[in-house]
């Protein structure tokens, strides 16, 4: 974990209303592990106090990149960033994904910015696997070329049917899981809305597979100090305890998450 005033190397608009922001930071690029995130100070904080968390999308050649969508005041203010601007960044933060177990076929399931959050994992996996991407429409499906370039098979579902299967991401996932010829054993890696993560956890349990889910919680400090981002999980002794999404997470073993207590 470091704090750094990183120079913006560039920013570009991507499909689906997303922005790709590149920061020059050899240190962060060297430290970044799949599933970790950056805690970014807004460029003109004015009356906003808190940093904003973003998954590390890519980390290479002395740069770290995030892929974000302007949804509120903070992210909107970030869209004005240009090469040469300076941004205070804390990172890499959190406990990321473990490396996919050797000899196991990795299955990714992603919604929203989850596709970005899973890219580093896909890139570092011992072998390519299958990636399921879901969204409301074609515009919400990100990074397909990037995953395909890594040799992954990408299977898409959109609720309006504008790309891939019509329906939720679980529709093609369930079909794939019930195919007798599918690879085995498998291991899940998922990032997206809580409902999706829970659905993946159920599929994993049914399939007797391990699943790792990356959770999205609004954050304060990002480093474990404020106890804003807590999530109920089961300790090894079975007791429900708080885990800090920013510190013990954002990635949890799906079986340890206490799903009932998620609003």
């Amino acid at each position: 974990m470091i704090i750094e005033d990183a120079a913006v190397a560039g920013q570009e608009r991507r499909a689906g209303g997303y922005y790709l922001l590149s920061l020059r930071s050899p240190k962060l690029a060297a430290l970044a592990r799949p599933g970790q995130f950056l805690h970014v100070r807004l460029p003109a904080p004015a009356d906003t106090l808190l940093r904003r968390p973003f998954s590390i999308f890519q980390a290479a050649e002395g740069e770290v990149r995030i892929l974000y969508k302007p949804v509120g005041r903070g992210t909107h203010s970030m869209t004005a960033l240009q090469a040469g601007d300076v941004l205070s960044v804390i990172g890499p933060l959190g406990n990321g994904f473990p490396p996919p177990a050797p000899g196991v076929h990795p299955v990714l399931v992603a919604g929203g910015y989850g596709m970005a959050a899973l890219y580093l994992l896909a890139a570092s996996a011992p072998r390519p696997g299958t990636a399921f991407f879901g969204g409301a429409g074609a515009a919400d499906i990100l990074c397909v070329p990037e995953f395909e370039a890594l040799g992954w098979k990408v299977i898409i579902a959109t609720e309006d049917g504008s790309l891939g299967a019509r329906g939720r991401v679980t529709t093609p996932l369930d079909a794939w899981l019930s195919a007798s010829a599918r690879p085995r054993p498998i291991e899940f890696f998922a990032c997206g809305p809580n409902g999706m993560l829970k659905a993946v956890a159920e599929r994993a349990a049914a399939a007797g597979a391990r699943a790792w889910v990356s959770m999205d919680r609004s954050m304060g400090c990002g480093v474990g100090a404020c106890l804003t981002c807590v999530q109920r999980v089961r300790a090894p002794n079975g007791e429900a305890v708080w885990a800090r999404v920013c510190k013990e997470g954002p990635v949890f073993e799906a079986g340890s998450v206490v799903w009932e207590e998620i609003e």
């Binding site: 974990m1 470091i2 704090i3 100070r41 904080p45 009356d47 906003t48 106090l49 808190l50 940093r51 205070s88 804390i90 919680r217 609004s218 304060g220 400090c221 990002g222 480093v223 474990g224 100090a225 404020c226 106890l227 804003t228 981002c229 807590v230 999530q231 708080w242 510190k247 207590e261 609003e263």
Partner: protein
């Protein structure tokens, strides 16, 4: 820029930043505010803990405590609402899991304590007595979730006195009651603290507040109400510290919305002996260390060789 008030310049390196909080001597007057800096290790990779005047850890009660459901914080204009609900590992958990780490530093550790009852307050104070590595206890009476009957310890003068008396009888550690802002007469609480044998007081705790999501019509915090902190409350805090300083001779730790050295100077000028940085650490973890350096420069520029020469010097 040269100040009118003092022509001679002092070298920043020669400025004496040390202050005394009752029996405690601090190398500088800049503390971390309870609940905003964890228990020490959380920020240690980013901040040199040796640069701090003291570390005030998050509130501890007798037993491990679950705190409130989520959402627990919500950002508002120039401020933050929080209702963490005092989640903590309890006295034993703190001593076991965090104190050994904190003992590695020369920075004094002040433990913020609370209890569900007066007896629990006293018991927590007793349990920390004689534990190595604890410099003082800050007594959090201003938590909106804990009360005796219908009386809140932080806003009812009698309940406040009884908590302090019980803690005073339970320990010889320096005691620093932390005052609630939502009272009509802060001076009365400051005097009551002095009468009860407190060694210093700290203020302000967060200001009760609330926000609503108008689309769902649900409160933004699971606990419905929370405490407002950050720059929004700074004028309120400065005013209460000024008032408290005129009511008591106890040293005061001032806090509320300090983001930079200039804000800390405001608190010192109205009478605080030390300050604490809270919410600002979330935005910029090195705020407290920067405030130390900024104060040093400010004092040098004003020809003040010691920070003590700034305390309580409001001009009229």
């Amino acid at each position: 820029m040269k100040s009118k008030t003092s022509p001679s310049r002092v070298e920043p390196a020669n400025v004496d930043l040390s202050v005394r909080l009752g029996p405690l001597t601090l190398r500088n007057p800049v503390l971390t505010a309870s609940g905003t800096f964890g228990y020490g290790p959380e920020y240690a990779e980013l901040v040199d803990l040796e640069q701090l005047g003291a570390i005030v850890v998050k509130g501890i009660c007798l037993k491990p405590t679950r705190g409130n459901p989520t959402p627990r914080t919500y950002e508002v204009a120039s401020g933050l609402l929080n209702a963490i609900g005092l989640q903590n590992p309890g006295v034993d958990g703190f001593i076991r899991d965090y104190l050994p780490f904190l003992r590695k530093f020369s920075t004094p550790v002040i433990v913020n304590i609370w209890g569900h009852t007066i007896e629990e307050y006293a018991e927590v104070a007793r349990r920390f007595s004689g534990v190595e590595g604890i410099a003082a206890l800050e007594i959090n009476v201003s938590c909106p979730n804990i009360k005796e009957g219908s009386k809140l310890f932080g806003t009812d003068l009698d309940a406040f006195r009884r908590v302090l008396d019980a803690c005073r009888a339970a320990t010889r550690l320096p005691l620093i009651p932390k005052l609630a802002p939502n009272v009509a007469d802060i001076g009365a609480f400051a005097r009551a603290a002095e009468d009860a044998g407190a060694d210093a007081i700290s203020l302000i705790n967060s200001v009760p507040g609330m926000a609503v999501d108008i689309e769902t019509r649900r409160p933004r915090l699971a606990n419905i109400t929370g405490g407002l902190t950050g720059p929004a409350i700074r004028p309120i805090a400065v005013k209460l510290v000024w008032e408290a300083a005129r009511a008591t001779r106890l040293p005061i730790i001032g806090m509320g919305g300090i983001m930079e050295a200039a804000h800390a100077a405001e608190f010192l000028i109205v009478g605080a002996t030390a300050v604490a940085v809270g919410t600002a650490s979330f935005a910029e973890p090195r705020t407290a260390a920067r405030v130390v350096e900024g104060l040093r420069d400010y004092l040098a520029r004003h020809g003040l060789a010691s920070v003590r020469a700034l305390i309580g010097t409001l001009q009229r």
